[in-house]
């Protein structure tokens, strides 16, 4: 029997005896006979540890991973460098085998780290408060939309078409069942169309949801958008790339009410899309409207500093159907990875990462422009940009793959109006040689 089950046959007999029953079956007598099973049928296994390792290793080898190809694919998940300290910290059983810190006296490790995470996310976003994590960037944006509806007592949100298509889909699903209307705002030259926004923005709108740099790579004019939203009593919610915030003015300083985002870029491996973490940060005014766990500082009986889960009166275990959200288990360990990453990079390192991304992305674009690609939008970008390819992206990416490159995201499904639209992401991990070769394979001879 498995090594995870310590009770021996003798132990079991002893326990059954203490209970005055003859077999373990007797403990299940309150279950209706009609539904009682004789065991789970037809599962594979059991496998020994060595057999298991072989089986899963074989499965994993049927995938091509980012160490085996050169990645220019992003669209929400990025191939950033993850320093060794991240895994060293989160591999500690004291962190990963604990649960939500309900008992602060024996959870100061998790609580202190979460407080540090919150502090660093607020530094980056320019906001007053953040929670200890959301499921991902998409659900964080959807929760922000609900927050705005709750505060403004309005039931319509405007979502920019330049927001990640999957995020918009999540927002549509979340809102559909709560009678919140979502209207999309079009884009012009790669950024939200201000005229379209002005025509849709009225005093029934709770929030304008944007992403910056947006899904197409272009930086949005957050300040102008905030002013337009506030003019009509609506909130501005910005979904941001945390790495970009080392170089870009934080949305909090530009008037955003809520800043959300996907935290994967902060020290979390791509993991086929999860687990990572979402962040949700807001202004002081919204402190008590936040969803999810928040860690606060306090003192113990002897006056020593300590940390606790705080403002819990917002949460499901207290407020039940009136809670600000249903979230309970969050993505704490992934947020811890984010915290270790931010501390590891530090003030200068994160700027260096951002600058490398910026320069390499611009270098890549120039190389591709020399080879028959066209820049789709003129606006400023950070680490990702949209090009019009000279051929359908499917054939382009297939050719690149044969040369060991994961090409950019094919925009044809989500943005068919951008002919042969190709979204290319470049992180600090790409070398000049990789970029030169990529451009050569993508476009052939220099034009």
């Amino acid at each position: 029997m498995s090594s995870y089950l310590p009770n021996t046959e003798a132990d079991r007999r002893k326990m059954l005896e203490a209970l005055g029953v003859s077999s373990v079956e007797d403990l299940f007598e309150d279950i209706p006979k009609e539904v009682r099973q004789k065991g789970v049928g037809g599962l594979p296994g059991p496998l020994s540890e060595d057999e298991l390792v072989r089986h899963l290793t074989a499965l994993s080898e049927r995938n091509c991973h980012l160490g085996q190809c050169v990645c220019f694919l992003g669209a929400g998940i990025y191939d950033h460098f993850v320093p060794s300290v991240v895994d060293a910290v989160v591999s500690r059983g004291e962190f990963y085998t604990a649960y939500t810190p309900y008992q602060p006296e024996i959870s100061q490790g998790t609580l202190t780290a979460a407080f540090e995470y919150q502090s660093m996310i607020c530094e980056l976003t320019g906001m007053y408060v953040t929670n200890a994590s959301m499921y991902d960037g998409a659900s964080a944006l959807a929760e922000a939309a609900f927050m705005a509806c709750g505060v403004t007592k309005r039931d319509k949100v405007l979502a920019a078409k330049t927001v990640h298509p999957e995020y918009r889909e999540v927002i549509r699903t979340y809102t559909r069942f709560r009678d919140v209307t979502v209207e999309e705002v079009g884009y012009k030259d790669g950024v939200l169309d201000l005229e379209d926004l002005a025509s849709k923005l009225d005093d029934s709108v709770a929030a304008v949801l944007v992403q910056s740099p947006n899904f197409l790579g272009v930086i949005e004019d957050v300040k102008t958008l905030a002013e337009m939203a506030h003019d009509k009593g609506a909130m501005l919610v910005v979904s941001a790339d945390p790495i970009s915030l080392a170089l870009l003015e934080p949305p909090g300083k530009l008037g955003a009410d809520i800043v959300t985002g996907e935290g994967q870029a902060l020290g979390n491996p791509a993991s086929f899309g999860g687990p990572h973490f979402g962040f949700l940060a807001a202004t002081k005014k919204l402190l008590r409207k936040m969803p999810g766990r928040i860690v606060g500082q306090t003192t113990d009986l002897e006056g020593r500093r300590g940390f606790v889960l705080t403002l819990q009166a917002r949460e499901q275990h207290i407020r039940r159907e009136k809670a600000t959200s249903n979230i309970c288990t969050n993505q704490a360990l992934c947020a811890l990875m984010g915290a270790v990453y931010m501390a590891s990079m530090g003030k200068e390192g994160l700027k260096d990462v951002a600058k490398l991304c910026y320069d390499k992305a611009h270098y890549t674009m120039e190389r591709l422009l020399e080879r028959g690609f066209e820049r789709a939008f003129g606006g400023p970008f950070f680490k990702e940009f949209t090009l019009r390819a000279p051929e359908p992206v499917e054939t382009l990416n297939a050719r690149l793959l044969r040369e060991g490159f994961l090409g950019g995201y094919d925009l044809s499904r989500d943005y068919p109006e951008i002919e042969n639209g190709w979204l290319v992401a470049v992180t600090e991990r790409r070398t000049r040689r990789e970029i030169d070769r990529f451009a050569e394979m993508a476009g052939g001879e220099k034009k």
């Binding site: 203490a18 403990l27 296994g45 298991l52 049927r62 810190p101 699903t173 979230i327």
Partner: protein, 486 residues
């Protein structure tokens, strides 16, 4: 080891760093960030050396209690041992470093694993189709309720806007109902700790969409009249939702699908041994009966011959509840766990979990009030109301004292239907010696409550910090080191 912990910002010194990045090998971009978009003031992230950073987080880790440290009988959370091989496997580069948008032909191993996990979870629960997309239990609840709502709307039954939730239910149940746009009707518990069937009947109407149940329920008791309840709900045109937080007690014993449930969520971070991560990540797949399958989130993984792909062509789907496909690396661990245990092993898990809980209850029953004196399943709820009344010692005091004895406290003050509740879930991964030691500690504390109540009320004494002032924390919230400086 009691010296105060400095925070990262207090350790920070300009010029230090804990990372090594490559020098740039490309020219500086000629296109500059426009002034109006450029950051004016650097984000004040800490500047620490790598040694500082590792010592800081190692020190923090030592302030935590965890399953790897000791017994963690936190009821409703299934804090079972997290197998180390699963950690290793989840970090295989072929799982860890996959991009969600890489071509399916480059991810067949991942898809095969997800498909295999889905099939195994369907078999275990007795459901027909399953999505792995939800990120946690509560997320699964919301998703499952949305599926129910979409299915009812598709049937043309828009007026079914109410969902029944027991008074003993976990807080996420009613909160998820709100997220999915339902109004909550509360059904009371009867004197055996089960759903009061008469009260349930009185709540039924053609506005009821269904009921959310946990079985065994949050009192650790099996809903004995589950088949009758299922009939009442189904006859009235409603659907049954199963909160899988307590599935550990049912593995190989009784399947929710056979009990009449139409939608089931699972917590892979409970039943299937994936670590709780200090609060997450988890994974909350939902399984459904055939009729509801078209409404599941998209994409759905399908197998064609020997290959796998994502099917996005699901016109009735509710859409998506998160980006991509779910918490994939959590799925890897759950898959590995099921493969390790096999059919017989999983049955044994449930047997030992239930045996351990009953044995532990037997060992402490004399000293505490038992709100419902019957066989429990994988966990039980006792009350500290006697100690509160007779000695002025609360459940909170007693569980704080447990910390001094070296144990993690059980879940307390939940479920709400039991005053001074202590909810104890020992799990199958604990030995009889551990159960004996825990019961001795709990009994000793009951004795201390009688003889030396102040000792219990002033606990814990052995921890890095003593009890913390939660009232001030909420009144004057300090939520970052920036607020503190203001």
């Amino acid at each position: 080891m009691k010296k105060p912990v400095k925070l990262l910002n207090e350790l920070s010194k300009p010029g230090r760093r804990a990372c090594s990045l490559p020098a740039s090998d490309v020219p500086e971009a000629s296109e500059k960030i426009p002034e109006k978009f450029a950051r004016k003031e650097d984000a004040a992230l800490p500047e620490v050396s790598e040694v500082d950073l590792i010592r800081h987080f190692t020190r923090l880790s030592q302030l935590n209690y965890a399953v790897d440290v000791g017994f963690y009988p936190l009821g409703s959370c299934t804090m079972k041992y997290n197998p180390k091989v699963n950690e290793r496997l989840s970090r295989l580069p072929g799982f860890l470093n996959l991009h969600p948008y890489q071509h399916k032909d480059l991810a067949q191993g991942a898809l095969e694993l997800m498909y295999g996990l889905k099939e195994m979870l369907c078999e275990i629960t007795g459901m027909d189709e399953l999505t792995l997309q939800p990120a946690a239990g509560a997320h699964g609840e919301m998703t499952g309720l949305m599926v129910i709502k979409a299915a009812l709307e598709h049937r043309g039954e828009k007026k079914r806007t109410k969902i029944i939730v027991p008074d003993s239910a976990h807080g996420t149940n009613p909160a998820s109902a709100t997220m999915a746009g339902f109004e909550v009707l509360v059904v009371t518990s009867d004197e055996r700790g089960n759903v009061d069937v008469e009260n349930l009947k009185s709540l039924m109407s053609d506005e009821v969409a269904g009921i959310m149940l946990t079985n065994p329920n949050t009192l650790g008791l099996f809903e004995e009249r589950i088949l009758e309840i299922a009939k009442i709900i189904h006859d009235a045109g409603g659907l049954l939702y199963y909160d899988g937080a307590n599935l550990n007690a049912n593995l190989g014993i009784a399947r929710p699908g056979d009990m009449g449930f139409d939608v089931v969520h699972l917590n892979l971070h409970k039943t299937f041994s994936t670590p709780h991560g200090g609060g997450g990540p988890g994974s909350g797949p939902i399984g459904v009966k055939e009729e509801l399958a078209p409404f599941l989130p998209k994409p759905v993984i399908v197998k064609e011959g020997n290959s796998y792909r994502f099917d996005y062509d699901r016109p009735l789907s509710i859409g998506k509840v998160r980006s991509f496909y779910g918490n994939f690396n959590v799925m890897v661990r759950a898959y590995a766990y099921i493969m390790t245990m096999g059919s017989e092993g999983l049955r044994r898990v449930a047997e030992d979990a239930v045996l351990n809980a009953n044995y532990l209850l037997e060992r402490v029953r004399e000293n505490f009030v038992l709100p419902f004196d019957r066989r429990c399943k994988h966990e039980f709820v006792i009350s500290g109301s006697r100690q509160k009344k007779e000695n002025g010692v609360t459940t909170l005091d007693m569980v704080k004292r447990l910390i001094d004895y070296g144990f993690h406290p059980p879940t307390v003050y939940f479920p709400l239907v039991v005053p001074e509740a202590m909810m104890v879930e020992p799990n199958e991964t604990e030995s009889i010696e551990e159960l004996d030691a825990f019961s001795e500690a709990l009994n000793a504390i009951a004795e201390e409550a009688r003889k030396d109540p102040e000792l219990v009320k002033n606990s814990p004494k052995t921890t890095p910090v003593t009890r913390l002032d939660e009232v001030t924390a909420a009144k004057r919230p300090v939520v970052t080191w920036i607020t503190e400086e203001e």
